[in-house]
Amino acid sequence: MNELLLIIISAVVINNFVLKYFLGICPFLGVSKQVEASLSMGMAVTFVMTLTAPVVWLINTFILVKFDLRFLEYVTDIIVIAALVQLVEMFIRKTSHGLYRTLGIYLPLITTNCAILFSALFLVLRGYNLIQSTLFGFGSGVGFTLAIVIMAGIREELDFADVPEALQGAASTLIIAGFLALAFMGFSGMPTK
């Protein structure tokens, strides 16, 4: 139990995907202009990550490892992610209009979000079991959401600040991401799993 909790905590704050591993930077820069939008994006990412983790784990354990086909990992992972994202999108669109409006439009962007592929690769690397993998996927998604929502909060505030023209947009966002990474360093050295 403790261990599972640790997996989530470490994925959320200590080894935050965005701030420590530089993953999912493109949406982190692109979709962090408004809190609502980034929350939706974060939720979509979390959803897909939680879903892909077990699927990837199953394929990996029961096909790739079994038949010594580890070198196909990248290809199978990505194809699973791409297909899952598309299925989820279609499903949501069909079933819930409201959900589609908040999550759906971000789903296509997720296929190429490297955070998701990384979480797939990482859980194999770490040798997590099925439950651990799922929690890890979930935690990483939450970590991404946390980072992007904080960034969005700051950027909304910055809309009213007097940022020099040359630094507006990507430049200031990156610099603030740097500050965030500095602040999150306070958690380094914590026990992780």
């Binding site: 701030l19 420590k20 591993y21 530089f22 993953l23 999912g24 930077i25 493109c26 949406p27 820069l29 692109g30 979709v31 070198f71 196909l72 990992e73 990248y74 290809v75 992972d77 990505i78 194809i79 791409a82 297909a83 598309q86 296509p108 962007l109 296929t111 190429t112 979000n113 490297c114 998701i116 592929l117 990384f118 690769l121 990482f122 690397l125 020099p164 023209e165 040359a166 630094l167 507006q168 947009g169 990507a170 430049a171 200031s172 966002t173 990156l174 610099i175 991401a177 740097g178 500050f179 990474a181 500095l182 360093m185």
Partner: protein, 211 residues
């Protein structure tokens, strides 16, 4: 005329539409692996190779892919080449392979590559796709080297491993800026570089065109 177009296709990647400084594409590897110039170079070349190969394939077969499975097919093709690069590095440059670690497979989802396939290779004939891939690939590699050199210089006093600034412990006066080797330093350096380049070209960077 034809040459001119090709030339333009290739040249735009170097500065006008530089994937890193102008389009903000493929940010994750850009930031993650650039704490030493050699890694920047390796990552740049690896990406370059994948971009080029997949552009060629996709441009040739561009009429074959049906709309619904377009992205899925592109992704598989890209992933295939990424695996090739990964195996190549593992076999021949195990140290670099280890250092780049999981960021090599992430080339699969590098928005730069998929983006170019979507926007360019799948819509243009082979020669133009190649020119574009060359420009973008070189632009990306150069940007990575630039960023990595700055970080390596300030972070370790070296560039490509060559000592430029002598360290305090070794009779010099330079104390390495460890932050430059850390995530925070990567963000700060790239942010500052983009800011400076905006300042000189007089326009604010386009918002991320990634997704």
């Amino acid at each position: 005329m034809r040459q001119y177009i090709l030339f333009k296709d290739a040249l735009k990647g170097l500065w006008k539409e530089n994937p890193v400084f102008r389009q903000l594409l493929g940010m994750c590897p850009t930031l993650a692996v650039t704490n030493a110039a050699i890694f920047g170079l390796s990552m740049g070349l690896a990406t370059f190779f994948v971009l080029l190969c997949s552009s060629i394939i996709i441009s040739i077969f561009r009429r074959v892919f049906p709309h619904q499975v377009r992205i899925a097919s592109f992704v598989v093709i890209i992933a295939t080449f990424v695996t090739v690069v990964d195996l190549f590095l593992k076999g021949n440059f195990p140290e670099i392979s280890k250092a780049l670690g999981p960021y090599v497979p992430l080339i699969v989802v590098n928005c730069l590559i998929l983006g170019r396939q979507e926007v360019f290779a799948s819509k243009n004939p082979l020669h133009r796709a190649v020119a574009d891939a060359l420009g973008m690939g070189i632009g990306f590699t150069l940007a990575l080297i630039a960023l990595a050199s700055i970080r390596e210089l300030l972070g370790s006093g070296t560039i490509f491993g060559v000592q430029i600034l002598t360290l305090v412990g070794e009779g010099g006066r330079f104390r390495p800026w460890i932050i430059m080797l850390l995530p925070a330093g990567a963000f700060l350096t790239l942010g500052t570089m983009i800011g400076i380049s905006n300042f000189f070209t007089g326009r604010a960077a386009k918002k991320s065109a990634c997704h």
